[in-house]
């Protein structure tokens, strides 16, 4: 592998890692506020991508404008899902049953996408789809750069919201210690609902970013959920910085391995990392007690 190629895949890996980081941050939010592993996250991701594609088909406008619809819509769905479905489950078996429930939601979304828009592969054609920018010798597609910029911007916004706002403080308190948060007067059920909405909003943004660059089909979400879940376990469940670092490392690793191994085998990196993590540090590399706080 020559250096130009290496650098090229490194840049692509960083761009991919940014998208992974945003999506994994959403998964971490759900886990933080409710101890729920949201299998349907990537199904919502694909749904957002489909909405962006449909929006582009119908109006001819740039798919980025569909964010104005999908972000509030997904936020509302997230709040509703937490308030109406997740809280109905018994606390004793919440973790296991919520996995099954969100799995059912994922299947439902996959089935409905296939039903409404058929199983045909879709792709958005944009005037700037084929353009690329030369960045220090590596040629980077504009759409990939836009997707990364969108992801990075949303992550930064999320970070500011969590760190600076009063709501973010309440959210972090809920994640750290629910009962204590209740004692100081935080309405944790409400905060948990909003946290869920926030997590689902990341799926809306990620899906739109994905639609710029990828060919989409209903069962695509299975290709995303595996890597994303590997990332959150490797990073340590509940730790946003941990997942961001794991997302970057694994995204770059996948991109680098794609050159010698091809796309199929490069994906196994995530699972190898997952099993290695379980054997070495089951709580994840950045998990454990400290990682529960930001």
């Amino acid at each position: 592998m020559n250096t130009a190629l290496l650098f090229q895949s490194l840049v692509l890996g960083v761009l991919l890692g940014g998208l992974y980081a945003l999506l994994a941050a959403g998964l971490t939010l759900y886990f933080g506020v409710m101890r729920v592993v949201m299998i349907a996250h990537s199904a919502f991701l694909i749904l957002a991508a489909y909405i962006a594609w449909y929006f582009n088909q119908q109006t001819g406008w740039d798919p980025l404008f569909s964010l104005l619809i999908t972000v509030p819509l997904f936020f509302g769905i997230g709040v509703g899902m937490q308030r109406l479905l997740i809280t109905r489950l018994r606390p004793a078996t919440l973790t296991m049953m919520s996995v099954l429930l969100t799995f059912a939601i994922a299947l439902f979304i996959e089935g409905m996408i296939g039903f409404v828009w058929s199983g045909t592969q879709r792709r958005i054609q944009l005037p700037y789809s084929g353009d690329s920018i030369n960045f220090l010798g590596a040629s980077v597609a504009v759409v990939k750069l836009m997707a990364f910029a969108l992801a990075a911007l949303s992550l930064a916004l999320l970070y500011l919201l969590m760190k600076k706002s009063r709501f973010g403080q309440a959210l972090r308190a809920t994640i750290q210690h629910k009962e204590a948060a209740q004692l100081v007067g935080i309405r944790t059920d409400r905060v948990a609902g909003l946290g869920f909405g926030l997590g689902l909003a990341t799926a809306a943004i990620g899906g739109t970013a994905l639609s710029l660059d990828a060919t989409i089909y209903p069962s695509l979400h299975w290709h995303w959920i595996g890597p994303l879940m590997a990332i959150i376990v490797v990073g340590g469940l509940g730790s946003i910085p941990g997942t961001a670092i794991a997302a970057m490392v694994l995204g770059i690793g996948q991109s680098l391995l794609q050159v010698p191994l091809g796309t199929t085998w490069a994906q196994t990196l995530f699972y190898v990392a997952l099993f290695a993590t379980l054997m070495l540090r089951p709580q994840g590399f950045f998990g454990g007690r400290l990682a529960q706080r930001f």
């Binding site: 059912a104 439902f108 590997a230 699972y271 379980l278």
Partner: protein, 415 residues
């Protein structure tokens, strides 16, 4: 409670069925008789169901229905195998399809490459799955709850990737043809033979589940399900028990997969390592009731027949995904314990009522207890007089303590 009342002498007042005071106006003798009729009914129902199941091949109107029956029975095998882990320990694995696929592929590859006879290959395939399950189980069982589910899903995704990618060995997406074990048989006969083979495998699994359910090992596993930390504190070797349950579950799933390979004769990674198959196993077991021996079988009969019906009526559309999703969500939200407990509750509701209001007056109760005490005293010649007086003393209180007082007298009579 019934087992406690079984050991009591027939003269004990019936209020001893529980300190909750749900008195049934019947002595212990009739109660014991009802238990045996209950057992007889159960045994009869079991025999009728087994006979119906075994006579299905001769009743099936055409080979298509028969093949659908084989599919449903293979679902029942996988769901029951899943229940060794999911039912006993409460660890929900969404990735058991990986064991199914591994069993199917190792059976097929052993026949193809080593030219073993089909059923030797099938057994060896089970051994292969067992060997693969050990490291996976050790890794997966280091975590609990959510992480375990993640690992199980990852396992099925990774096996799918490997079996699709390694096409020189597995045939990849082109599929793999398994030689038929009985080349001389015609299609319908072939279905019939495999129907009985699957039924035999299911029988072995049910027997094993039943035996574990009654053993100390099963008790330890159930302790893990209820509270793993407390079980560990009480000295249950939780890690080894969980691993053993995982191995049993994985191996049985692999054997079901191997049998499927021999029957169906054509393998494709997409279908063998399908996450949907793992989801069906969970759905069937949950729908029937994971804490019951026949729960997964019942769930498989319902879900499996529905799936086959859907396939026949609507073909392979996206609708069956939606239907599966809705059913799974409904079960998880409203019936997480399954049909069997729900049905039992319903029978209790419309069956003989256990009213919380006692149906006899305090005076009648006093009279009956006195008679019972006197009888007991006459029988054991004065040894139980203390029991009678203890009951007398309590009876002056309000209704709530009556049961407890009577229970106390009952216990003293036992000594």
């Amino acid at each position: 409670m019934p087992s406690a009342s079984d050991t009591r002498s027939s003269t004990a007042p019936d209020d001893t069925t529980g300190p909750g005071g749900a008195g049934r106006p019947a002595g212990a003798g009739p109660w014991r008789g009802r238990l045996t009729t209950g057992r007889l009914i159960r045994l009869g129902a079991f025999l009728v169901c087994a006979a119906l199941l075994l006579s299905f091949p001769s009743m099936a109107p055409n080979p298509y229905i028969l093949s659908a029956g084989v599919v449903v029975l293979s679902y029942a095998c996988t769901a029951t195998a899943w229940n060794f882990m999911g039912g006993f320990t409460g660890y929900v694995s969404l990735g058991h399809a990986a064991f199914f696929g591994l069993g199917a592929y190792s059976t097929a590859l052993l026949i193809r490459d080593l030219e073993l006879s089909p059923f030797v290959a099938w057994l060896l395939g089970g051994v292969v799955v067992l060997v693969v399950t050990i490291p996976v189980g050790v890794a997966a069982l280091r975590v609990r709850g959510a992480s375990f589910v993640i690992v199980s899903i990852s396992f099925v995704l990774i096996t799918l990737l490997v079996f699709q990618g390694w096409d020189a060995f597995t045939g990849g997406s082109n599929g793999l043809v398994v030689p038929r074990p009985f080349p001389e048989l015609l299609r319908p006969e072939h279905h019939r033979v495999f129907f009985y083979l699957f039924a035999a495998l299911l029988g072995v699994m049910l027997l094993a589940w039943w035996a574990i359910d009654r053993s100390q090992f099963g008790m330890g596993l159930k302790a893990v399900r209820e509270d793993e930390d407390k079980a560990q504190a009480l000295g249950v070797p939780t890690r080894n028990y969980k691993l053993a349950a995982y191995l049993i579950s994985g191996t049985f799933t692999g054997l079901a997969g191997g049998m499927y390979a021999l029957w169906f004769g054509d393998l494709d990674p997409i279908f063998q390592f399908s996450i949907m198959l793992g989801a069906y196993m969970v759905l069937m077991a949950l729908l029937g009731g994971v804490r019951h021996l026949f729960g997964p079988l019942l769930g498989a009969l319902i879900v499996g027949s529905a799936l086959e019906y859907f396939k026949m009526e609507f073909g392979d559309t996206q609708l069956h995904l939606v239907a599966t999703a809705l059913l799974l969500a409904l079960v998880v939200l409203f019936m997480p314990d399954g049909i069997i407990p729900a049905a039992r509750d319903l029978v209790r509701r419309f069956g003989p009522q256990q009213s919380s209001i006692r149906e006899m007056t305090a005076a009648e109760l006093l009279e009956r207890n006195r008679e019972a005490a006197a009888e007991a005293a006459a029988r054991t010649a004065g040894g139980t007089a203390a029991g009678g007086t203890a009951g007398d003393g309590d009876r002056t209180d309000d209704g709530g303590t009556d049961g407890a007082g009577a229970a106390g007298s009952g216990k003293e009579e036992e000594r």
